[in-house]
Symmetry: C2
Subunit: 170 residues, 2 copies
Amino acid sequence: MAGPNTAWPEEQREEVLRFIERFASQMADAGWQRMPARVVAALMATDSGALTAAELAEMLRVSPAAVSGAVRHLTRLHMAVREREPGSRRDVFYVRDDLWQDVIAGRDRLLDNFEESLTMGVAAVGHDTPAGRRLAESAEFFSFLQKEMVEVLDRWREHREALREGHSGS
Amino acid sequence: MAGPNTAWPEEQREEVLRFIERFASQMADAGWQRMPARVVAALMATDSGALTAAELAEMLRVSPAAVSGAVRHLTRLHMAVREREPGSRRDVFYVRDDLWQDVIAGRDRLLDNFEESLTMGVAAVGHDTPAGRRLAESAEFFSFLQKEMVEVLDRWREHREALREGHSGS
DNA sequence: CATAGAGTTCACGCAATTGTGAAACTAGTG
DNA sequence: CACTAGTTTCACAATTGCGTGAACTCTATG
C-alpha cells in the first residue's frame, strides 16, 4: 500500500516532486499534454521505472481517472507499457528505457508529413515560381533532416553502449 | 488593393489555400499555435515571400486583429520580419529564407532545458540509484543530440549550397 | 492641421481541453 | 458465488485559448 518512495525523507521527496513538475512543464512547452507528461516524468524518476495507477495518483495528487486517461494516451503512443503481474489485480506501468530515442524518431515521422505537404504545395504554386522554389527547398530540408536523424540515432546507440561499458568497467 | 495572388485562376488559388491549411494543421500537430502557423504557410506560398496584414487577413479569411496577434507572436520568435517601405503606410511581413533551419536550431535550445532539468533530477534521486542512472542517461542523450544537430545543420548549409549551384548551372 | 489609411489593443464570447466524482466494469479471493 | 480491490467510463464543471468587433493610435497626405 505504501508507495515506492515512502521510505525517502520528506525533503528529498519534495525535491523529486519539484523535478517532476518542472520537467513535465518543459515537455508541455514542447507540445505534450500535461498529465501524460507528468506521468512520464514520475515513472522516469522512480527506481523501478514502474508504478501502479494508484501510486501515480497519490504521487501526482490527481484522481485515478486522470491517471487512467493519461496512461491510455501514453500506451496508444507506445510511450508506456502496461503490465499485470499474474495473481495480482493491479496494473503496473513502465517507461521504456529508450523512450526519448523513440520520441525523437517519432518526431521524425512528423517531418515526413511536412515534406509531403510541401511537395503538394510546390505543385500548387508551380515548381518554376519563386514560391515553388522556396517550398521545394523546405521540402528538401526536411528530407535531409530526416535522413540525418536516422544516422544520428545510430551513432547515439553506439555512444550509449560505450558509456555503459565505461560505467561497468570503472 | 488587389492581393498578390488575385491574378491566379480560381482553381489554383483554392489549391494553394488547401496547401496552406494542410501544412498549418501539421504545424499545429507539432505544437504550433494555429494562426501563426497559417500566417507562416501563407507567406511561404507567396512568390514575393511577403504580404501585408490586410492581405493576410483576406487570404486567410480572418480579422485583422487575429493577423496582428499572430504576427506579433512570430516576430517575437524571430520567425517573421516586419518592414515598412518609406513613404508607405502599410507594413509588410516576410519569412526568412532559412526559417526552418532556425526553427530546428531553436528546438535545440529546448533540448538544452530538458538536459538541465534532468541533471537536477539526478541530484534529487541520487546519482547512484537506478532512477538516477536512467535520468543521467536521458540527459546524456539530449546533450548528444544537441551536439549532433549543430553538425547536421552545418551539413545542411553545405548541401543547400550544392543544390543551388546545381540549379543555376543546369 | 484635418483627414483617412493601416495596424493594434482590449473586452467579450465561443469552443476545446482537462480534471473530477460517481457509477460501472473486471478479475482475484474466500 | 458473493465480495472486494483496482481500474475505466461518462457526464459535468472549471479553466484556458482563440478569434471577433469596436474603439484607439500612429503616420502620411492634401
